[in-house]
């Protein structure tokens, strides 16, 4: 193995690592605010890639009708739970937000898709189709058990992941897709040939991370999110509505997942079931950082990406075996460092 190959592998690793970083940071964010380990994030990322691919092919993406379906589910489950206080106003409000909004987006897609919209417009449409899914999933699956243990929430997250795998197959079919690069071409930097897409991925990731930093450190809303993460009861006592904070965290998470999805699409072929493995790699990073530290998550994600690209070169068949076996020592280490409360719940 010579320097060029190592540099090439390193480049590959950093690019994949950047995507894992974005996913890992999102996981940390959602976990901190809602205590949900958001496994289905991978599916949202895969749907991002598939939606963008659909726009490129001039089709209406499956996510558009899916969003309408999710909206209907939300209204229906709210009706079951609420019973009292159901009146015309309630239906109009929910109908507008959960059904009419998604329907409008669907109509927009039907109108725009055959015209093969410009890249920026496709990406914007993709992200806006997937963002509302975050809070909808939160309302459907997690809000009713928001006070349950991390473990229960985790099993529920696995349930959502399971449901999403089938849903993805239903709305996108089994075929994999690939999108074109945001920036085509290759730029020589020193001995290295850097792909345009690599620069886009790196750039967007850095911009997103800086954006998140500013949001959390400078804005009242961001501070409220952090406060909810630090002390849920304390947050409720000062009047921060933790349910809407949870929805907001899920929206942010869905948005970032969709964005990463649009970037992965040109790096590798994505199909309805690719998301799980990708998001689990984000996990490895998030867990290495104790589901707590954003900068450490980013570093660990880069590490995972690089490890993956080197092990793909040396033992391609065992790439996944190596990456996932790596979590175990990390989990052991975290278990020793973090003092869990002794009380396990019933």
């Amino acid at each position: 193995m010579n320097t060029t190959i190592s540099l090439f592998l390193l480049q590959d690793g950093v690019i994949n690592g950047a995507i894992y970083a974005l996913l890992g940071v999102t996981l940390v964010l959602i976990f901190a605010v809602t205590r949900v380990i958001f496994v289905p994030q991978g599916e949202l990322a895969a749907w991002g890639a598939l939606t963008l691919a659909a726009f490129e092919a001039g089709h209406v993406p499956g996510t558009a009708p899916l969003l309408v379906l999710l909206g209907l589910c939300c209204v229906f489950s709210d009706m079951l739970r609420q019973r009292r206080g159901l009146n015309g106003k309630w239906f109009i409000e929910r109908g507008l937000r959960d059904i009419a909004g998604p329907l409008a987006l669907w109509a927009l897609c039907i109108w725009l898709a055959p015209q093969k919209p410009a890249l920026w417009l496709s990406v914007a449409l993709t992200v806006s189709l997937i963002i509302p899914m975050g809070p909808m999933i939160y309302r459907l699956a997690f809000a009713p058990i928001a006070d349950a243990s991390v473990l229960t929430l985790f099993i529920a997250a696995i349930g959502v992941h399971f449901a999403f795998t089938g849903t993805g197959l239903l709305f996108f079919g089994a075929e994999g897709s690939r999108t074109t690069a945001f920036i085509a071409g290759v730029f020589p930097i020193g001995v290295l040939m850097v792909k345009g897409q690599s620069l886009v991925v790196l750039g967007l990731t850095i911009v997103s991370l800086i954006g998140l930093y500013i949001f959390f450190d400078k804005t009242l809303r961001g501070k409220a999110l952090r406060a909810t993460a630090v002390n849920r009861l304390g947050a409720r006592l000062v009047g921060i509505p933790t349910q809407s904070t949870g929805r907001f965290a899920f929206a942010l998470g869905a948005g970032l997942a969709a964005l990463s999805g649009t970037m992965i699409g040109s790096l590798t072929t994505i199909s309805y079931d690719s998301g799980f493995i990708i998001s689990l790699k984000g996990f490895v990073a998030a867990i290495a950082a104790g589901l707590a530290s954003y900068p450490l998550t980013v570093l660990a994600a880069l590490g995972v990406g690089i490890l993956e690209s080197f092990s793909a070169f040396f033992a391609s068949a065992f790439k996944e075996v190596i990456v996932f076996s790596l979590i175990i020592p990390m989990l052991v280490w975290r278990s020793l460092v973090v003092r869990h409360s002794d009380e396990e719940d019933e």
Binding site: F162, T165, G166, L170, L280, S335, E346
Partner: protein, 592 residues
């Protein structure tokens, strides 16, 4: 076997009726095949019930152990020409060894890290199956032999049905036996947190590993059956998604009940089969659309019925008989009690620092046999921390603590317990769903020695009878005997505290440590408690209690140690201490 003891004829009838399924002429062969698979999955689900529902460890990785079992037998039969029967020991060995190795790491993971860990290794193992040349990569191994019995082939479903369900029945019996034993109590106590179990001498890590390996063995046997029913193996049925389905079975059926596992496996398997034939027609294309329904089902079950479906089902079945107390059971040997007045606990300059905060500041005191010593002070004075130092929960930063002539600094709570120190907890730590009797019997854990295997085979009955008799004796001593068969959670708080004292007495201690025993008790309950403690003292018991209620300790104790801000500010007879100006200041604050 207690589950079946109350109506043996009913159960026998049910089993016989079930055994007729393959010979009833109008049942299509297809349904018999389905029941064969239900049996195989039931084995996995039963293991998962013990692991997740009883032991509190959620595993998404059980499918990997099914894979280990299936691949072991597949390789040995297809490549080396073994008979399927001959591979069983190898299957057990492979599943057992792999589970021991994975388990050593996994049971050390805490909280949600544990299920994450199981996902990680199950993905690794899936890719391992799929990439190893010898295992046929992702194509797997096919053309495996079927079971045969004395020359009769069990290739058809209506014959292998009996083999599979014989295994299930065996698993149900053995699992129920295990739960109804000394080790079973230790395993069941894990869910309530490991601290209480550890302080009565249970090696919780070992107990966890035991369930983990047992669950894996059941999964391995399921894999062995699967390989020779399916006659082929490939990686995909052993991936993490299969693991999630197994967990769904356990959660849906009711993860705390052995038969809940069978119920869950039945529902999920039938549902999957139905959905796989209906959904593609409905949707118009092929694919595993049943995952949509399963995923939703999982979320809904967590939202509306966290106990699973078995409790609703069990209402229609006869309730198991409560445990019998055999008066004739041999009494457990007792440890010699120290002579009255002898020094049994001496704390010297014990210091505990958390970062910059000194929680216990060079505190010294002594406890002599036959007295009740009170450790008092306002909230935040360092009483609980001192208590944790003495019981071995915390290791002091400096100082010495000697109990019964042994240095206990650096010893684990269970090692301190073995020396004859038993404790109660400020926040009651009883296993909520376990009966009062069994909670109390956990206290006698160190006075028995029978392990997992003898429990499964029912060789532990005489020791078990002695342990239960001892528990009943202690319940009688504290006056809770009429409540012994109720679940612990159904007792009032005061009674729960008393039950904790009975559990502590079961250890046959020479020193009893009580952490705020009177907190939250009504006046009459406090008086009863005081009478009980005085009676124990009269019987020669030594007691150290941490208490907030001044009135309670004043009347009861021989000696008081007063802490404030981590420092001992006074010590002596109660009436002397009560007049100490520093004590008054600490208790009443300086506001006038």
């Amino acid at each position: 076997m207690r589950e079946f003891s109350s109506a043996p004829l009913l159960w026998l009838g049910l089993i016989l009726a079930f055994a007729c399924i393959p010979i009833v002429p109008c049942i299509p062969a297809f349904w018999i095949t389905l029941w064969v698979y239900i049996g195989i999955y039931s084995l996995v689900a039963i293991g998962l019930v013990l692991l997740t529902g009883v032991g509190g460890m959620t595993s998404f990785g059980q499918a990997a152990f099914v894979g280990f079992g299936a691949y072991t037998s597949a390789v040995l039969t297809s490549r080396y020409g073994w008979s399927p029967w001959a591979t069983l020991p190898a299957v057990v060995l492979t599943a057992g060894v792999s589970a021991s190795l994975l388990g050593l790491v996994t049971v050390r993971l805490s909280g949600h890290f544990l299920p994450l860990g199981t996902i990680a290794w199950s993905i690794s193992i899936f890719y391992l199956f799929g990439n190893v040349e010898e295992l046929g990569r992702f194509d797997g191994i096919s053309g495996l032999p079927a079971f045969d019995l004395f020359g009769v082939s069990l290739a058809s479903a209506d014959r292998v049905f009996y083999l599979v369900w014989f295994c299930v029945l065996l698993a149900i019996v053995v699992s129920s036996n295990l739960l109804d034993s000394r080790m079973g109590r230790a395993i069941r106590a894990l869910r309530g947190g490991s601290q209480a179990a550890e302080s009565f001498g249970v090696k919780t890590a070992y107990a966890k590993l035991t369930v983990f390996v047992y669950a894996a063995l059941l999964a391995g046997v399921a894999g062995w059956l699967y390989a020779h029913v399916q006659r082929a193996v490939s990686p995909s049925p052993f991936g993490v998604h299969a693991g999630i389905e197994f967990l769904l079975m356990a959660v849906l059926g009711g993860s705390g009940y052995v038969l809940g596992g069978v119920l869950g496996a039945t529902i999920v398997t039938i549902l999957k089969d139905q959905l796989q034939s209906v959904l593609p027609k409905l949707i118009g294309s092929d694919g595993n659309f049943e995952t949509i329904v399963f995923g939703i089902l999982m979320v809904v079950i967590l939202q509306v019925a966290r106990q699973g479906l078995w409790p609703m089902f069990a209402r229609f079945l006869p309730q198991p008989k409560p445990q019998q107390i055999h008066k004739s059971a041999m009494a457990l040997p007792r440890r010699p009690m120290p002579d009255k007045g002898r020094l049994i606990l001496s704390v010297e300059a014990a210091r505990m620092q958390f970062g910059g905060l000194v929680a216990v500041n060079d505190v010294s005191f002594k406890v002599n046999a036959g007295e009740i010593v009170g450790l008092i002070g306002p909230n935040g004075a360092g009483k609980s921390t001192t208590f944790n130092l003495v019981t071995g929960v915390l290791r002091p930063t400096a100082g010495s603590i000697r109990f019964m002539d042994s240095q206990i600094v650096g010893k684990l709570p269970r090692e301190v317990a073995a020396l004859g120190m038993a404790r109660t907890f400020q926040h009651v730590k009883l296993a909520a769903q376990m009966s009062v009797l069994e909670n109390v019997a956990l206290g006698a854990h160190l006075r028995g020695g029978r392990g997992t295997l003898s429990a499964m085979l029912r060789l532990d009955r005489s020791e078990e009878a002695s342990l239960l008799r001892e528990a009943a004796r202690q319940l009688e001593r504290v006056g809770l005997i009429e409540h012994m068969h109720k679940p612990a959670a159904s007792l009032a708080l005061g009674q729960q505290r008393i039950a904790e004292i009975a559990r502590a007495l079961c250890l046959d201690p020479c020193l009893l440590l009580l952490d705020e025993p009177a907190a939250g008790l009504r006046f009459a309950e406090k008086q009863q408690l005081a009478v009980l403690l005085a009676q124990l003292r009269a019987e020669g018991m030594t007691i150290l209690l941490v208490e907030h209620d001044m009135d309670f300790v004043m009347k009861l104790t021989n000696h008081l140690v007063v802490l404030d801000f981590g420092t001992k500010i006074a010590e002596g007879a109660p009436d002397v201490v009560a007049r100490n100006p520093a004590v008054l200041e600490a208790y009443l604050g300086g506001v006038e």
